[in-house]
């Protein structure tokens, strides 16, 4: 055992932090800190700054821009990016579609897509969920029928984050009706500019527009854009979900939120002249959140710094569940710092042009409270995670 960070790991952390603070513009970090939506260009700008230093895709194969850093170092990197309010490299690009193309794509696909994905020259969104296939993804219905050198795609995806900002979408589509549910699924890359695609906004309860429906009406997609083999999409999706767990706990993000809670509570008045931070009830809640975050930090490091667990590592589902719940708790503390002022913090309308009008740091806090509910829903709901823990880990319901 070596329960502390090594000298080398500490030096790496300092190096990362210095680079981030020196290179990522203050305006971007302020917007992230205040949890305001970023203009597309800023997100791209930030990822290119990270990519320049090898920070965007260190977990990729070396030939495509990866670095041979240990998982601990990659976790440190992820934590520092979040903690210092630097926009995370777009997960759809670097954590999801990139590794799948790197592992299963053709050489041509790798050359065409990987550098562009790493540098956010191409912005991908994820087309998995459908109206009747959420937790039960295997029930998806969007069809891709082979016609010569192309697939004809029909169907609908939903909850597609940033589809309105994206250039491409990677989709799970059904290429065979005959096979077992999971076997007829393929993994297809689709240019969103292709005729027949319509992106419809879904306004979120945080007042913003992040989510979309994506409708496919006889969309013709070149068969060159099929990743790997037809019918293997389910395996690729499972591979993708098993990737990069170095930031699954969202430790740096929660750390940043709690630091902000503390900073706000030191400025805000309590009710008897003192600061809010000195209110015993508020301090108690903050202390608990900080204690739990410390435990989560260690759990995160246990996932990345221990020998791989045979079979399913229970800590993965725990990281997902607890990481999300702590982010939500931090959001509650954030909004509670506002007191009655939360009512006049402002609340965004859905229209794009209102993106920055009348919104300030306080408004970001209110929206963050609402939007944080997604962490226990998307990416495998907490109920699904507990099913996994009970069934696959504890092996409950299987009499011996």
């Amino acid at each position: 055992m070596e329960l502390q960070f090594t000298q080398d790991e500490q030096a790496f952390r300092a190096e990362v932090r210095n680079y981030l603070l020196a290179n990522v513009p203050e305006r971007i970090r302020t917007a992230v800190y205040q949890e305001q939506p970023l203009p597309r260009a800023w997100t791209v700008e930030a990822q290119r700054i990270l990519n320049r230093a090898g920070y965007a895709v260190p977990h990729w194969p070396l030939e495509w821009g990866g670095r041979d850093w240990s998982a601990v170092k990659r976790a440190i990197l992820a934590e520092e990016i979040d903690r210092n309010a630097v926009p995370k490299p777009l997960a759809f690009n670097v954590a999801l579609v990139g590794p799948v193309i790197a592992a299963f794509g053709s050489e041509a696909q790798k050359r065409r897509f990987l550098p562009a994905i790493a540098n956010l020259d191409l912005w991908f969104c994820q087309g998995f969920s459908e109206p009747n296939a959420g937790s039960d993804l295997a029930s998806l219905k969007t069809s891709a029928v082979r016609e010569g050198d192309a697939y004809r795609v029909n169907g609908q995806k939903i909850w597609t984050t940033y589809a309105h900002e994206a250039d491409w979408i990677f989709c799970l589509v059904r290429t065979s009706q005959e096979a077992r549910k999971q076997q007829g699924i393929s993994f297809l890359l689709i240019d969103l500019a292709t005729p027949g695609i319509e992106v419809r906004p879904i306004r979120s309860i945080d007042g913003f527009h992040h989510l979309n429906e994506v409708h496919f009406d006889n969309v013709l997609v070149s068969a060159d854009n099929l990743v790997g083999e037809e019918g293997k999409g389910w395996d690729y999706a499972r591979y993708l979900l098993g990737q990069e767990r170095t930031s699954m706990g969202n430790v740096g993000f929660t750390r940043r939120r709690l630091d902000r809670v503390r900073a706000l509570a030191e400025q805000a008045s309590g009710e008897h002249g003192a600061q809010l931070i000195d209110d015993p009830a508020f301090r108690r809640r903050l202390t608990w959140a900080e204690i739990e975050l410390k435990a989560l930090e260690i759990t995160q490091m246990r996932v990345v710094a221990s020998a791989p667990v045979q079979g399913i590592d229970p800590k993965t589902s725990i990281l997902k569940t607890e990481g999300g719940e702590l982010l939500q708790r931090a959001a509650e503390l954030l909004i509670d710092t506002l007191g009655p002022g939360a009512l006049t913090a402002g609340f965004p309308e859905a229209s794009e042009d209102a993106l920055f009008d009348g919104l300030d740091a306080r408004s970001g806090i209110v929206s963050a409270y609402f939007s944080s509910r997604k962490y226990s829903i998307f990416g495998g709901s907490n109920e699904i995670q507990r099913n996994i823990l009970a069934g696959s880990v504890l092996r409950l319901g299987r009499p011996s």
Partner: protein
Amino acid sequence: MNFDPSEEQILLADMAGRLLASHATQTVRDPAAEWRDCLDQGLIGLPFTEAQGGFDGGPEEVMIVMEAMGRHLSQAPYLQSVLLAGRTLALAGADEALTGLLAVGARHALALFEPGQRYRWDAPATRAEPTAEGWTISGAKVAVLDHDGETVLLCPAATPRGLGLFLIPPGTSNVLLAIQPTPDGRHATDVTLDAVTLPPEAAIGDPARNRAILAEAVDGAILGACAEMVGAMEQLLAITVDYLNVRQQFGAVIGSFQALQHRAADMLIAIERARSIMIYAASMMEAPEARRSVAVAAAKALVNRSARFVGQQAIQLHGGMGLASDYPAGRYFQRLTVLGMLFGDTDHQRAVVAAGGGWAG
């Protein structure tokens, strides 16, 4: 003891429910029309005495109406203009203003909160100085619900003789309004008063009694907010149960999964708990202030806690659908969140109870 509504109360519930439901089903809501209907149907006059021109409704009737408001996510400024500002006018004997409310629905808004005082309202930093021509008021108020350019502001301020209460008509000079939409589709306003001059008759009530008057109106409004939250929670649970019984995953309706069933059961438990403590607060509205305010704070604390749980779990059980603001679940969650932050969050109210020490019975 008896918790069953009387025949009159059942009729009132039906009438309020129908009225508010008719607005809830509009694609674009019209709060002004909703307010007008409340006036026409006598809901605005409900909590005032006959002598004042009202209909003698008590806490039970207020609960009934406010539950309906919650159930239908009403956007009428009833909580603010009737229960909070309206009852302040009545208690302060501001007959002329009250008549405006009751006769033509003139909207008033009570400004309780100030920057840096969180949920305390009884020692305003806003000051009113007597002058030869009347008064000059300066200060700042925050988060005045349903206040806008057409509302009469009811403004507490420190005066040399004690806590003053002032009526500031719309359009008064040197009053700056910063109106913001609230997350639940209403609006709230920060107000800056920069040496605002008012005539002598702008002062209402009596500095010796104004704190007690406000305390009584605030407690009544908190009870109203609790009832609105209980109504909203019940409707949200009903919506959630419907969804669970329709939505299919893994070849079954998700309402058949025991973990989700138990979550819904916990929501029901939380709601019944909230309803009971609300009833307790209603039963204490005639008690001496110290006991009344502890009962009301206890109610708001527990209703707040229930509402956060019920709101969050409703979203969770809806999955992605819960995050879409066009689906009703999210709207209820937003309303519950806003009401939870009004008058005092959970910790504040619990601290009020703890400071009040034990229970009298």
